[in-house]
């Protein structure tokens, strides 16, 4: 028996040592590139994927997208994916998580099972960690060797923002608004906002509730609730372990700053304006205008509520619930923006839709064909690739209006399909437009988007938030650029994650509390015990670095020397920003 135990122990030690020998540990981010031949830079790199006969060899690529809502269902059969394959040869297999709790990504990382390419939310700490722990190829290295033509296409400001401490960039984001296509001074619509059901709002207005102050808002909601008993007076977004987006947008309505007058970083949660907003929400809860189900409902339930037109006021991110608003619009229920002001009657300071991106696409060191993957990314990143994924194929679904290529229009066939021709409508469905969003550059696409043949619903959805444009500002300094080489980086992120998870729980408790201030103080004290001060100190440094990178002295709009409160005083914003059938 003793011998048996000894043998088993020996086997265990042997097996463990085998596992440890076989484990693929990261290494560093040095340019240890595979030995594929270099690509010249005299033409677009993807052109070199063709052989002498002009054909492109097929190759397989696995692409993980860390967003459960991403779906390219028609991949392989639609026109866009066919052209993409003709150009690059890529046979892409996409995988997405079932839920958005980060579990799938964590499992892939912890087991070193990352596929060829991954697209991860650019603000996730894993992006920098993956780069610093050697799981990713530096795009600069790949570009230098296999896609020199990519260099000229780079959006420098975005590229520079995502450059890590070692001076290399490891990922390209989608939905980033580069100064290459949008000026910093250009006014854009807000990211999230309050929307109110117009017909019911007019009923409340007739009773004297314009709902632009906290008291009037609550009274207006109560009035509508009494009149339409089945309605949801105030619909907030889903409460998750990440927090609640509605609370972010509302704090902007109440002008909760993220920077003090001297330009130093502030933890928004500790500001008086943020507390004023929490008190407002607490009052909303006490008055019964936030339904109990709102605290446990998932996004799908909220989507149904909006679709049915049950919500009087919504505080969600409208683009995330676009289909729901369209469904309501289909039933003649129209939502318009609403301006709510803090107790000092200040105009809202809303975050505009521009940012440094959403999903950061990175090529992992498990990638079997990095020399081809970088060419694929270059194609998707290029203006030609952008037009393909958004508008289809030139001459088939869109065309240039002039030889200078300054504007586009849809082809007659496309317009015919949009106008209801059954055959052409079916053809449009086979195009696969706006499916491949992983390298999408909305700044470019919005600039060139054809405006002919648009329907009422397109105009409605495009313009929903535009009247709030005067109140929207660039919040780019809040996209903090952390120095991942600092020794306390990992610990700070760990503490930050703990605080974030607990704060998400506390938000619900504060809103539902009989004594919101006491609950709030307890939550702040908990955060302090989890070293909130250290986190803020680290973030303050990151904030300074980010502002330096963006070359701005002040980040918060009210602190900027050129800030002027909008003169427009209407409850729904300025409708002169509404875009109709032609470009402004």
């Amino acid at each position: 028996m003793k011998n048996l135990v000894k043998r088993m122990l020996l086997m265990l030690v042997f097996s463990t040592s085998l596992i440890s020998c076989g484990s693929e540990t990261g290494g560093n981010g040095s340019a240890d590139l595979p030995d594929f031949p270099a690509t010249p830079g005299d033409k677009d790199s993807w052109e070199y994927l063709k052989d002498e006969t002009g054909k492109v060899e097929e190759w397989d690529l696995e692409w993980y997208v860390n967003d459960s809502t991403f779906a390219w269902n028609s991949y392989g059969s639609d026109r866009v994916s066919q052209v993409l394959k003709e150009k690059t040869g890529a046979n892409i297999k996409f995988t997405v998580p079932v839920t958005d709790d980060g579990q799938k990504l964590s499992t892939l990382i912890s087991g070193n099972k990352l596929p060829d390419i991954i697209s991860v939310q650019c603000w996730y700490s894993q992006c920098s960690q993956l780069a610093s722990q050697g799981y990713l190829y530096a795009l600069d290295d790949l570009i230098e060797k296999w896609a020199p033509s990519f260099k000229a296409k780079e959006q420098e400001d975005i590229w520079s923002y995502f450059t890590e401490g070692d001076g290399k960039c490891y990922g390209v984001p989608n939905f980033a608004y580069s100064t290459k296509y949008v000026n910093d001074t250009d006014k854009m619509e807000p990211n999230g906002c309050l929307m109110v059901r117009e017909d019911w709002y007019n009923e409340a207005l007739a009773e004297g509730y314009d709902m632009t102050s906290a008291t009037s808002f609550i009274n207006g909601c109560k009035f509508i609730q009494s009149k339409h008993t089945d309605c949801i007076p105030f619909q907030l977004d889903a409460f998750t372990n990440e927090g609640n987006e509605s609370i972010d947008w509302l704090s902007q309505y109440f002008c909760a700053p993220f920077e003090d007058k001297d330009g130093n970083y502030l933890d928004t949660r500790t500001t008086e304006r943020y507390q004023e907003m929490l008190e407002f929400l607490n009052n909303c809860h006490k008055q019964g205008i936030i339904k109990s189900a709102n605290y446990s409902d998932k996004a799908s339930a909220i989507r149904t509520n909006i679709s049915r037109g049950k919500c009087f006021v919504t505080a969600v991110t409208p683009q995330d619930y676009q289909t729901a608003y369209l469904n309501a619009y289909g039933s003649n229920i129209n939502y318009v923006p609403l301006i709510l002001r803090n107790k000092d009657n200040q105009a809202p300071i809303l975050q505009d839709i521009s940012g440094n991106g959403y999903l950061l696409t990175m090529i992992t060191k498990n990638c079997k064909n990095p020399h081809k993957a970088i060419k694929l990314l270059e194609y998707l990143y290029s203006e030609e690739g952008q037009r393909l994924v958004a508008f289809g194929v030139e001459g088939e679904s869109y065309q240039w209006d002039n030889p200078e290529h300054t504007s586009l229009s849809w082809t007659d066939r496309y317009v015919s399909g949009v106008n209801g021709n059954t055959e052409d409508q079916a053809w449009i469905n086979t195009l696969g437009l706006f499916s491949m969003t992983l390298q999408m550059n909305l700044a470019y696409i919005n600039k060139y988007k054809p405006l002919n043949g648009r329907k009422d619903t397109d105009i409605y959805i495009d313009n929903m938030k535009r009247p709030l444009t005067p109140y929207s500002y660039n919040f780019k300094p809040t996209f903090l650029k952390h120095d991942t080489s600092k020794p306390n980086y990992f610990q700070t992120i760990t503490n930050y994650n703990k605080i974030k998870t607990k704060w998400a729980e506390a938000l619900v408790e504060i809103i539902r509390s009989n004594n919101w201030k006491e609950t709030y103080d307890n939550a702040i004290n908990y955060a302090k015990r989890q070293k909130l001060d250290d986190v803020i100190s680290f973030y303050s440094e990151s904030y300074k670095n980010t502002k330096k990178l963006l070359n701005v002295e002040f980040g918060y709009p009210q602190n900027r020397p050129d800030y002027h409160e909008p003169t427009w005083k209407g409850p729904h914003g300025d409708f002169s920003y509404w875009r109709s059938k032609t470009h402004e």
Binding site: M11, I19, S20, T25, Q103, N112, S292, V508
Partner: protein
């Protein structure tokens, strides 16, 4: 099924059994024959399975004593991180959530032990008392079926039934029991939801083993009891229950040792931001901080703590069972 043996009480039947059992002759040296090799090969598969999936991963427990948080690759966390002694355990015990997490885990499981453990036994007894075979089979099929659905699907159906627009609220409102829809997602309903859904899904399946045990009882015992004028109640109390007592004890001991184990997918399906005060249990806590936030060391310490408690409970459960019924698993 092998009878549960007690060292103190060996009945003549068991003694006779041991005479012919290979276990009794285990000290006698025998030559390895071909049929032995076949048996060894067959059993080795099970041993390899247990070694690879149960013993080998135990090496990962080393993480509980290292500072592996912040590493992305779990192997890096094991081999490259520094030793941390008992720091991770101390951090877990000092965590403000520790008390609530343990309270929820033990509270919910104790309730489940008190309610969900005896009900399948009662259900099996009632089922066996049904005189109509066909109806008995129909009931069995109906009650077994939910077990084969995953918690995600089954939970999704339940959530749809109990949401504010669901059929449960509609019935409650129409019967005048409540004035407005009840939010069953609130913390005060969580434990009840878990226990009821657990029963609905698992009671039928959980009763299978007892139905089988009851079926194995000698019918002559019931016939003799009938002749002696025993009522149905007497038959249950004096024949059925004592006959299945060893099975009940075995499952009771196993249930006690699993008192810190909650069905993760069950809890996770019904958990939301407002019921965390009652729904955060060790399994979900470890998942959130370990898997999602990549705090490997911290949560390995939490998992280690759970395993140690489970082993202690197994021992205590076994000891109590032996003392009270004379039966145990070791």
């Amino acid at each position: 099924m092998i009878p549960l043996l007690s060292k103190k009480k060996i009945n003549p039947y068991q003694a006779a059994l041991s005479e012919i059992s290979p276990l009794a002759a285990r000290h006698k040296k025998k030559k390895i024959t071909r049929s032995n090799i076949e048996l060894l090969v067959m059993v080795s598969l099970g041993i390899i399975f247990i070694a690879v999936f149960a013993y080998l991963p135990m090496f990962g427990l080393i993480l509980a004593f290292k500072s592996g948080d912040g590493y992305l690759n779990i192997m890096d966390a094991i081999f490259k991180s520094q030793w941390a002694g008992f720091d991770n355990f101390a951090a877990f015990f000092e965590d403000p959530d520790f008390k609530d997490v343990i309270l929820n885990t033990i509270g919910l499981n104790t309730l489940q032990l008190c309610i969900n453990f005896p009900l399948p036994i009662i259900f099996a007894i009632l089922l066996s008392e049904l005189p109509w075979k066909r109806i008995r089979k129909v009931i069995q099929v109906i009650t077994y079926f939910p077990y084969f659905l995953s918690w995600i699907i089954y939970g999704g159906i339940i959530l749809a039934l109990i949401n504010s627009d669901g059929i449960v609220n509609t019935i409650l409102i129409n019967l005048g029991i409540v004035d407005e829809a009840v939010n069953f997602g609130e913390a005060q309903y969580f434990w009840a939801t878990i226990i009821i859904t657990s029963l609905l899904k698992g009671m039928g399946w959980g009763s299978i083993i007892y139905v089988a045990a009851i079926a194995g009882i000698d019918p002559q015992l019931y016939e003799a009891a009938d002749m002696d004028g025993a009522t149905r109640w007497h038959r249950i109390i004096h024949i059925t229950v004592p006959s299945i007592a060893p099975t009940i004890v075995l499952f009771f001991i196993l249930s006690v040792s699993g008192i810190l184990n909650n069905g993760f997918d069950h809890i996770w399906t019904f958990q939301n931001q407002i019921n965390l005060a009652r729904s955060e249990v060790l399994d979900t806590f470890i998942y959130k901080y370990g898997v999602v936030n990549l705090q490997y060391s911290y949560t390995t310490a939490a998992g280690f703590f759970k395993s140690v408690v489970a082993i202690v409970l197994l021992g205590v459960g076994n000891f109590i069972a032996k003392k009270t019924t004379g039966n145990g698993v070791f």
